[in-house]
């Protein structure tokens, strides 16, 4: 597991110029830029890994989230599949199913077609596993928080009282509704 993380980190460092999936005309994408990352999965093969990366992004398409961020979710699933043969098989089968639905290769389908495919498989185990990994792992990652503007714990910094708990650009309510802090 440690080795994978290091590999991912060094990949991120070396690929900082990659700004996103390469979008071809008609909304198709090609993920050759991710070969180095996908080749180094511990359990998933390159095609399965790249397809799962794209599914993760299609489920939660971000404008500010870099494509590399979505590796968080797939790396996590890759780690779990390394010790769970049936999980690994569900990924292989799941990708085969959406490839087939896309007429051969999910990654070559348009965004609109891909969304339609995901709608069809909504709620099946493959879909649910990938969605839940995004919810519970991707959005629980500090790098993602930094982009979205969530700051997390504040106890170690003394709370938000002195760190902008009242700095939103709306009118300050009258004191009767919102008194000053006791030490002011």
């Amino acid at each position: 597991m440690k080795k994978i993380k290091l590999d991912r980190r060094s990949f991120l460092k070396n690929s900082s110029k990659i700004s996103g999936f390469v979008v071809l005309s008609g909304g198709m994408v090609q993920l050759n830029a991710f070969n180095a990352w996908a080749d180094k999965k511990s359990s998933l093969d390159s095609h399965v890994a790249k397809t799962m990366l794209l599914v993760s992004k299609d489920l939660f398409p971000g404008k500010k989230f870099s494509d590399e961020l979505y590796m968080i979710s797939v790396d996590s699933l890759d780690g779990k599949a390394a010790t769970d043969e049936s999980l690994k098989k569900s990924f292989v089968d799941g990708v085969a199913e959406i490839d087939s639905a896309a007429g051969g290769n999910y990654m070559k389908a348009s965004y609109k077609d891909r969304v339609a495919i995901l709608k069809k498989i909504q709620g099946n185990p493959f879909f649910s596993t990938l969605r839940w990994e995004m919810v519970s792992v991707f959005y629980n990652n500090k790098k993602v928080w930094d982009v979205a503007g969530y700051q997390g714990e504040a106890y170690d910094q003394g709370g938000y009282y002195l760190r902008g708990f009242q700095d939103a650009d709306w009118p300050q309510p009258p004191e009767k509704a919102s008194p000053k802090g006791w030490w002011e």
Partner: protein, 525 residues
């Protein structure tokens, strides 16, 4: 100092649960010289143990024993094994509560009279009135240190409140402020003032929020009349040949069964575990479970209307900064049937961190795609509020034993069945509309109407009633059937009112302690 009682000591009062009801009752009884053994299923966590991390805290303290669900409520499809979001720890769900401390209104104690006969609803007047409850509300507010009572100032409003206030005032709402909160706005009772940490739900690390675990239990221990046993999960309440309660059987931390004798037993395991325990304690004398001659044990399960409105605003809000729920509009909590429903609701500010927003904004398998993703990516632009409304008690909404599924102790798990009443659906629709209007007035660019979370307000499954045929316990929480058995948590609620329940649970516990101590000294129990 902490005391140790013998398992065969049949002079003790056994309190099951250490939360708002059980923790308060334990301390109040111990202060009056009653010997108390409090059995808590969870472990003991102090503020130093609390983690300001949503999933981390959830896995640390949530009640995750297996449960099942049925019915048409969205929880059954979105969270089929998590009907409630409550806590398994010393202090119970006061570890998780957000602190909103509102008295019920006069009419909410007599809804059968006020609302009339609502089809499909099992409405009943409480056997107590607001007037009778007022002195106990007063004591509870003083104990908790509720802001805007007893000269305690309100909390300063955070970013989420600024947006909420702006929109609510533009809409014409009159009573809008930072709420009556069980969170210290200034140091009090050995606890800090609020540091605006933003993790009220995860256990307050600064200790500013009242919690039975560190506010009541240590005081009980100081009396020398009190013993807390943690990881003591009660699986049966036992009785003697005459039908009187004589003890409880619990599973200890090592998985061994122990029997503690008792003079009286008070059950405060939250509205799912309390009826489950009465049902699991059935015997040849009580074939339908304890205190169930009315057939109402487990019935009339209420969970408040609930729902949330989240809005993506045109400017950054940073609503995660500061108290989770210090903001309220009370204008809609009146009973005005012209709105198309009986009863009312409160609007209260609410913020979740990004991890929980991802899980809850649009829960379940349909929670994906551009709309939800855009909101999460712009988390710092979100504002949010929670709807707390009175839901209708219905006999079919019930906690029952699911004998097909067993828990870690081999006992049948509780099944929680719930269908929204038509009145609930109409009220939620109205509240969603008003919440949306508030945020549109304050500059929203997108609005989400989020369905209920797993229930935090679990109520009514052993309700109090004037007549034994209508409910499980009397106005003191005493079982109609068994003189030395008491219900001491939100299960007692005859109806739910529009207000968050903790203050009323604490008030009832203070009142019940008075009653129990008096009756014990008279020798009647």
């Amino acid at each position: 100092m902490a005391k140790k009682f013998d398992l065969n000591d049949d002079s003790v009062a056994v309190v099951i649960g250490s939360g708002a009801g059980g923790g308060t009752l334990s301390n109040e009884l111990a202060q009056k010289g009653v010997k108390v053994v409090c059995l808590e299923a969870g472990k003991n966590y102090s503020p130093d143990d609390f983690v300001n991390d949503e999933w981390g805290a959830f896995l640390q303290t949530a009640w995750l024993d297996n449960r099942t669900t049925s019915g048409s409520w969205s929880i059954a499809s979105n969270w089929p094994n998590l009907p409630s979001w409550i806590v398994k720890s010393v202090g119970g769900s006061t570890l998780h509560w957000a602190g909103a401390s509102l008295r019920f209104q006069e009419h909410e104690f007599k809804v059968r009279t006020e609302y009339g006969d609502v089809a499909g609803a099992n409405l009943l007047d409480w056997p107590v009135s607001l007037k009778e409850m007022e002195p106990y509300y007063d004591k509870a507010e003083y104990k908790i240190g509720v802001t805007r009572t007893h000269g305690i100032p309100g909390l300063p409003g955070n970013n989420n409140f600024k947006v909420f206030y702006d929109g609510a005032k533009k809409l014409g709402y009159k009573d809008v402020h930072t709420g009556r909160m069980g969170i210290n706005s200034m140091p009090r009772d050995g606890r800090n003032a609020c540091l605006q940490l933003g993790f009220c739900f995860q256990g307050c690390k600064s200790g500013a929020k009242w919690s039975a675990g560190y506010s009541e239990i240590p005081k009980a221990e100081q009396t020398g009349n009190f013993e807390l046993r943690t990881q003591a999960h009660v699986i049966q309440i036992t009785h003697n040949k005459s039908g009187k309660i004589d003890g409880v059987v619990y599973v200890d931390a090592d998985g061994n069964q122990q029997k503690q004798k008792a003079r009286i037993v008070a059950v405060a395991g939250n509205s799912i575990e309390t009826p489950r325990l009465l049902l699991m304690s059935n015997s040849s004398m009580y074939p339908d479970g304890l205190s169930n001659s009315s057939g109402q044990v487990g019935k009339n399960y209420m969970r408040h209307l609930t729902g949330s409105v989240y809005a993506l605003m045109d400017k950054p809000v940073n609503f995660h900064r500061g108290t989770t729920m210090a903001g309220i509009v009370t204008d809609e909590s009146i009973n005005d049937p012209r709105r198309g429903f009986v009863g009312g609701y409160e609007l209260e500010t609410l913020a979740l961190g990004l991890p929980f927003m991802a899980g809850f904004l649009i829960p379940g398998v349909s929670g994906w795609g551009e709309k939800v993703s855009n909101a999460l990516e712009n988390y710092d632009h979100l504002a949010g509020m929670w709807i707390v409304g009175e839901d209708m008690p219905q006999e079919k909404n019930a906690v029952s034993l699911n004998t097909d599924v067993k828990d870690q102790n081999g006992m049948p798990v509780p099944n929680v069945h719930f269908d929204d009443h038509d009145n609930d659906i109409k009220m939620r629709k109205h509240a969603f509309g008003k919440g949306t209007d508030v945020y549109n007035a304050a500059g929203a660019v997108d609005v989400f109407e989020t369905p209920p979370y797993p229930s935090t307000h679990n109520l009514g499954t052993c309700r109090m009633s004037e007549k034994p045929r209508d409910g499980v316990c009397d106005k003191n929480g005493k079982s109609h059937d068994i003189a030395n058995l008491f219900i001491s948590d939100g299960s007692q609620f005859t109806t739910g009112a529009a207000e968050n329940p903790t203050l009323t649970i604490v008030s009832l516990a203070i009142r019940q302690a008075e009653h129990i101590a008096k009756e014990m000294s008279k020798g009647t129990i």
